[in-house]
Each structure stands twice: as C-alpha cells, then as structure tokens.
Symmetry: C2
Subunit: 417 residues, 2 copies
C-alpha cells in the first residue's frame, strides 16, 4: 500500500478505536494472542526467511539472536498481549473537575492520542508489544520495523489483523509499512497530518535519526549514561552490592551504570574494594588521575579520556572520577549524564536531599540500584520505553504515556463577556 494511503486509512479509524469499550479491547487482545499462537508455524517459517537473509548478510550473532523466533518466544509474545488485557484501562479517567464562577463545568478527561508511529529495529516482538499497548490505550499504530525482520513482522501483523477482523474491528487499527527503503522511513517521519506521535525504539543512531528528521512530535527513549556517586558517609556494604548489581547484572541495558563518582575522603578505602568486587567480571576501569594512582599497577585499569565520561559503554567498562565535594559530584554528573538514572550512596540525609533535588535526571536514587528504572519495577505493569526527554513523559513509560486529555465544558448558554 502506498505510504500516504496507509497513514490516511489508519488515521480514518482512530475515532472508532479511541472509543471502544474496555471489554471489547480486552477481548481483541486475548484473541490476538490466540491468533498469534494459532499462526505459529507461519510466523516461524517467515522468521526463517529473515534469519536466512540475515546470515547471508553477515548479521552479527547478537542481532540474529534478537531476530530469532521459536515456540517459546512466540508464547511469550502471546502472553504479553494477555497481560496487557489484564491492566487497567486508563481512558476516561477524570483528571480534574472544576466549576467556574459563571457556572461552566470544566472536566479534564484522559483520552487516547490517536495514531502512534513506532520505528524500530530487527526485533519482531516489538510489533506485537507495540500493538498491544497502543490498542489498550485506544490508539491506532503504524509499525515501521527493521527491514531484516520484514517477513516476521508481516506474519505477526497478519495474525493480529485476523483477531481484529473476527471482532469486526477495523483492521487499520494496526498497519505495517512494508517498504523497507530509507526514503519511505524519512517520508513517514513527515506525516504530521496523520500521525500524532513517533516513538523510536533502538540504538542511539536510530533515535537521533528520528529526532533530527521527524516533524511529528517524538518521544525520545534512550541512552543511559548512569552514575553511582559514593559520598563521604556511604555505607560500604550497600555500596558494593549496588555497584555490582548496577554494573554487571545486565550490561547491555540503558539503566546499567557506566560511571563511578567517588568522594576523595573515601576513595582510598573503597575504590580497591570496588575493584575487587568487580574483578570476577573483568570490568575495565577507566580512571581520572587520582583514581588511576589508587588503582595503579592493577590489571584492566587505564587512564580515562575526557570522552570516556560521556560514554554509554553497554559493556564491562566503568569510568571513575574522584571529586572533593558533593557539589563537584553533582556538577560532574549533570554535565555528562543523559538524564536517565543516577544514584547517591550516602547515610547523610541532607546530602541525599541535595543530590535528589539538584541532579537533572528522570530517576534519582538514594541507596538503591539504577537497575530499578523500569516500568514493571515501578509498578506500571507494562513499559513502552524509558523517556530521557522532559516533555509529555519522563522516565519509565507505562500505559498513561500513550494517552492525552481533552477538556469537556458543560454550559447552559454561557457567552464570554
């Protein structure tokens, strides 16, 4: 289908989708889960074509693994749709209600956004996840997945459309852009007339391409250059546990830490302990001058460059900076961070308050691991991504991030004086 036709058709049904009852939406979500399971063989066959093409194109092993679907992964996708059906429907919530002096009653009510565009890479599960979250919140979704997953995505979207059809819901509630050229993607980012928001999911390159080229509002999700700051009064046991957890539990995620900032009064004592705790993981330490001298002679310790402090390694690497005050720590973190998640380790509640107030990030922690920055850990039941921008949604985004509001004003003939 031509891109503009596809966007326009999706836009045309947004009113229907935005006003479905919770009951109907949940039934469709369960049916979509069933349909995906029923079409498992076709989906796996389509995925095999993508995998074969990927291997022929020398796709790295890590990406091939993300692309691969098998019965247990398909069961997980279906299970995800069933779980979204079980979440509360946020639409219709009255966010505020006031009566004005002239008698007008003003209600602010939560509504769907309309048409959501998703741009993502070769992870076919995102196709079903995005549909589930958007449909539950009364939104239509236009999917633009990576070209390496195109056959898998077509098979998944066909299975979902079948569930819409048997429920007599417009199938245009979900559409997949099947053209895989860059030009179509760029055109898609200019479809303001039909698309209300774009959400890119993927690596830094994809996200910055969307931010720079889109004229549609974008929710930027993203990169995390997260820090742990070890203050003068830090409890060492908690600190060692949290640094180990935040650095090594999963290295490839945005809420893992990439940098340590340590007060000089405790650096001599705790830094070697941190080093020892992370030694089994072969973590490389990239150190400023002072920390380099503390760890001098040890394996896997090198001097940091200025660039290191701004890097999201997503690897067994940590940069280390020694500071002489909490103010210097805050200034350093605010200069280099990406606005994601930052932790202070301290037993001094005034320092904790200061840090939490002055650090500019979506999530600021006191004595806890940055790995908790996650929609499920925050109790949202689902996550569309973690926003590192400040408009609309910040931090882990649950269903509410996919909603807007409108004002309903009830009068009895009032005119403005």
């Amino acid at each position: 289908m031509e891109l503009e036709v596809l966007c326009s058709r999706t836009h045309d049904v947004k009113n229907v989708i935005g006003n479905l009852s919770t009951e109907v939406k949940n039934r469709v979500l369960h049916d979509a889960a069933k349909s995906i399971l029923a079409h498992q063989d076709e989906i796996i066959a389509a995925n095999a074509v993508d995998l074969e093409n990927g291997r022929n194109n020398q796709m790295p092993q890590g990406l091939l693994d993300r692309l691969m679907l098998n019965p247990s992964r398909i069961a997980a996708i279906a299970d995800g749709l069933d779980q979204v059906a079980g979440l509360n429907d946020p639409l219709g919530e009255i966010l505020s209600e006031t009566t004005r002096p002239n008698g007008l009653i003003l209600k602010k009510v939560r509504v769907s956004i309309g048409v959501v565009g998703m741009i993502y890479e070769a992870r076919p599960n995102v196709s079903a996840d995005a549909f589930g979250l958007c449909f539950k919140t009364g939104n239509c979704v236009i999917l633009k997945g990576g070209k390496d997953a195109i056959h898998s995505n077509i098979a998944i979207v066909n299975a979902i459309k079948e569930a819409l059809k048997i429920n007599q819901i417009p199938e245009d509630a979900v559409n997949l852009i099947t053209q895989t050229d860059r030009e179509t993607t760029t055109q898609f980012m200019k479809m303001n007339q039909f698309v209300d928001v774009l959400i890119p999911r993927g690596g830094a390159g994809l996200i910055s391409a969307v931010v720079n080229n889109s004229s549609i509002p974008v929710i930027e999700t993203g990169t995390g250059n997260c820090h742990v700051y070890v203050d003068e009064s830090a409890d060492f046991e908690k600190t060692l546990n949290i640094i180990e957890n935040a650095k090594t539990q999963r290295i490839g995620v945005c809420n893992a830490i990439e940098s340590l900032v340590i007060h000089e009064s405790v650096a001599n004592e705790i830094l070697p302990q941190i080093y020892n705790r992370l030694e089994p993981y072969h973590v490389q330490f990239r150190c400023d001058e002072k920390s380099l001298s503390i760890l001098s002679g040890k394996e896997n310790v090198i001097a940091a460059t200025e660039e290191d402090f701004g890097k999201e390694y997503l690897d067994y690497i940590l940069s280390v900076k020694i500071v002489d005050s909490i103010d210097e720590a805050i200034a350093h973190i605010n200069h280099y961070n990406t606005g994601h998640s930052e932790t202070i380790m301290t037993e001094d509640s005034e320092h904790a308050d200061k840090f939490m107030k002055e650090i500019d990030a979506a999530c600021v922690y006191h004595n806890a691991s940055t790995r908790f920055s996650d929609g499920n850990e925050f109790g949202f039941g689902a996550e569309i991504g973690i926003s590192t921008q400040k408009l609309h949604a910040r931090g882990p985004m649950g269903l509410e991030a996919l909603t807007s509001y409108k004002y309903l004003i009830f009068g009895d003939g009032q005119v403005r004086p």
Copy 2:
C-alpha cells in the same frame, strides 16, 4: 554573543534557576516589573526606532499597532509580571507516591523543564510575558523575537537583567538572540544539546516553520478552525447568543468560530435567524448547496468551495454546512477541524455526550461559546498559549505546561534481583 555560547551559558544556569525558592522568584518578578517601569523612557525610545524602521519598511498598520509601546502598555507589561508573582508555584508538588513491595519509596515530583526557547513575532510584550512565566516555573528562557522589534526587546531584556543582577541571580536566566537573520533562527532550532523545548508564538507560517525545522521538541500552539454544531433539539435563543459571541466578539483570535454545521431539520428555521443576528456585523456566509438555497437572494451570501471548510478566516466570514445527522456533523468537524474548540448546541443529553466523546479537539463544549478556551477563563491565572497538539499539553496552557517531573526513589541498599 555567538548563538552556541549564548545557549550554552543559559543551559549552565538552569540548575540554579530550577532550585530557587518561591520567595526569591516572586521578589525577582516584582523587581523586574519595577525595573521595566523605571526604564520606561529607554524602552519607549528603543521602540520608536523599531516603529520608524517598520514605517520605512511599509509594515501594515495592524502590525505597527502590535509593535507599539506606550506608558499604559508598559504598565500592563509590568502588571503582568506582578500577577505572575501572585500565582501558586507549581514546582515541588508531589504528583504520586508509592511504596514498592521491596520497600523502595517512589515519589513523582513536579520540576522545571530547564531551558525554554520562545520564537515569536514583532510583539515586544511577549519578551516580558515569556520571561515571567518561565522564571516562575524555574525555567531559563532564550528569546528569539521578530527582527522588527529587536530594539524594544533589547531594552526590555536589559531591564529584566538588571532585576536579576540586584538579586544576585544569574543574568543568563534570560537571554535574547540579537542576530535577526533566518540562518540563526534555523540554527537555534537545532540546539537540542542546550534547549529542552521550543514554543513558537505567532501566525501559521511561523509555527509550521518551527514544527518542520526544529529538532528540539516543540509545543505547537495555534490555529483554530472552530465550529458550532446546531443539533435538532437546539435552544434557539442560546444558539443565537453563542454564535454571535463566538463569531463576532473578537474576530482575530483562535477561539472564534469559523464554521457552522446545522442539522437539516432545523436549518430552514434557524439559519435565517442566525443570518439576521449577524447582519449588523456584515458577516459573509459561505454556504454549501442546501444552506445556499435557504439564504438565497440575501446579501453577503456566496457558495462555499471545499477549501472554505478547512479555513481559519480570522475575519467576518462563516462557512455553513447542513448535515442530516449528528454522525455526519461529527465526521465533518473531525475532518476539517484543527483540534482546537468545538461546540454542540442541543437539549438532548445523549447527543451532547456523543459529541463530546467523539469530537477530537482540545476543548469540546455543550451549550457554551468557544471563546472560553483561554487560560484565564479556565482558571489557570496565566496562559502561555493554546496547544493544538496532543503530547505534553493540550488546550489552554497554564504554568503547569512549563513543568516536567522526575522520580525520586528512596532505598536502603536494594538491588534488582
């Protein structure tokens, strides 16, 4: 100052401005008001240069009027700053607080956005208004006003900076871009590194230029193609009053109506009455086939083109469409509207509910004038603009629209299992 230096310097003080106490902010706002009054002569002299240039450049009379400052307008600008000082400070509000099963306490707290960029035309009052609203919400502001008002803007910003200086607040809390070429404006829209949000204020051309060229998130304010739908059971007296108010009270504003949609069962009776009510204002009626036949032979009645239904006239002109059902009315309005404000005139509460649910607009009214779509009328105390997009803020925007939130997470050594 070079653009990047100016943006970077503003960015550098956002943390200070975002953490000022309410008391300090209010004192600065009052002092800024005093300083503007104290520098009235310089501001008027600078404005005289702009006016002289405007006249030499054949600036239309309406724009010259918007550009012109005199003692009473300067008093109004100062009064605006005093009023903003009197509003509640939204920062620090706890938006939610939960305790997770692992003992983590999660607080969602309202914070400033950081650096706001304003791009506007030759209305020098916007310089002070924007500073006041941004400063009250803990934001720094970078102003890019129209080149026709550059001398006035410099004088106003200098007066504000003086008030910052005497209170020992960083003067970079407000900066004016003094380069007036287009290239600088385009560069400004790409300063993502330093600017968190751009708010364009002005005509449709300015707004679409910002939406299309900015890589910084934009809050789109704007155009209003607003409708009144007269349903079968409309009360005629209320309907006539509201149409007169919404069309004629102020024609140049975005919440004035541009189009009538009338149910065919009442069109023969009410349309001539509407025509008579608006005759003193010489309103031109641009009619579809059916309404044209009802008003045939009357002065100022012409056939509408397809284009008319999508137009924001900002003039004594109304398009008219007759429909055979409320569904057709809703479909027509949702097709042509700009998502601003729409009214249904009906005594049928089921029809009112349906209209309010299905119309996709920021403000949907039952039996009231669209002219109420305004921050002050909604009780917000101030207005930065009326958003016609669905992300972040929709409809009239008060101080809250200039805020974001962050999560503060209080732990006691928790790590993610």
